[in-house]
Subunit: 106 residues, 2 copies
DNA sequence: GCGAAGTGCAACCAAATGGTTGCAAGTTGT
DNA sequence: ACAACTTGCAACCATTTGGTTGCACTTCGC
């Protein structure tokens, strides 16, 4: 809840699409333009652009104009935050499991 | 791409909703029934059930019938997988950043 | 046995999502 | 100057999503 998990939901939602996830991994290698990313992809450049905007809205990506092209790059900070969220939940859960086990064991 | 990131997308998509994320954290404390989870929530039990089904479809949750009620519990394995995916991408990225820095430095 | 509690199923609805196409406008190299 | 390339914007479309309501069915407690 709170603001924390709202933004977390936004990040996860942005990652929750196969095309977008593919974009993230591609951008993990190097910054690229929308047309470059659309090359070899099943979908249109416009679709790619929309996906990049979603990723940017979630703070996972930033863009920078360079002449006539626009380069998109990954923003690792948000990825780390998302990972930390998962760590927090699963740690709680792991402890809960442990407690349950302790109660049952004899 | 591949099967790996398809299922990853499914997991992230399941987590990409504020209500669902809240359910995950609640289930992180202890297994609970849909009606218990719906108590104090803004939305209907039916909506909660649908969300739980989505989470279960992504393998994040499992359910078990106990008398007249149905208890939902977290499945930590998938959370770990999702975290590992984020680790992998951000590690690539961190290395890429490093390489770029090395090329620019003098 | 009967009412209350908990669940499951189905129909339905508005809004968001992922995608397309067409076209105008700003760069670039020759 | 001009053709080629890259981007941006808008309209439009089908499907998915998140949510509701109503009702039938099982299970518990007394």
């Amino acid at each position: 809840m709170s603001k924390r998990s709202e933004s977390a939901a936004e990040v996860f939602s942005a990652l929750g699409d196969a095309t977008r996830l593919s974009l993230v991994t591609k951008l993990g290698a190097r910054p690229q333009s929308a047309t470059a990313l659309a090359d070899g992809s099943k979908v249109t450049r416009q679709a790619i652009v929309k996906h990049l905007q979603v990723l940017e809205g979630a703070g996972l990506v930033k863009h920078e104009k360079s002449g006539r092209e626009v380069l998109y790059a990954l923003e690792a900070k948000r990825l780390h935050e998302a990972r930390d969220f998962l760590d927090a939940v699963s740690e709680h859960w792991d402890r809960a499991i442990e407690r349950l086990r302790d109660m049952v064991e004899d």
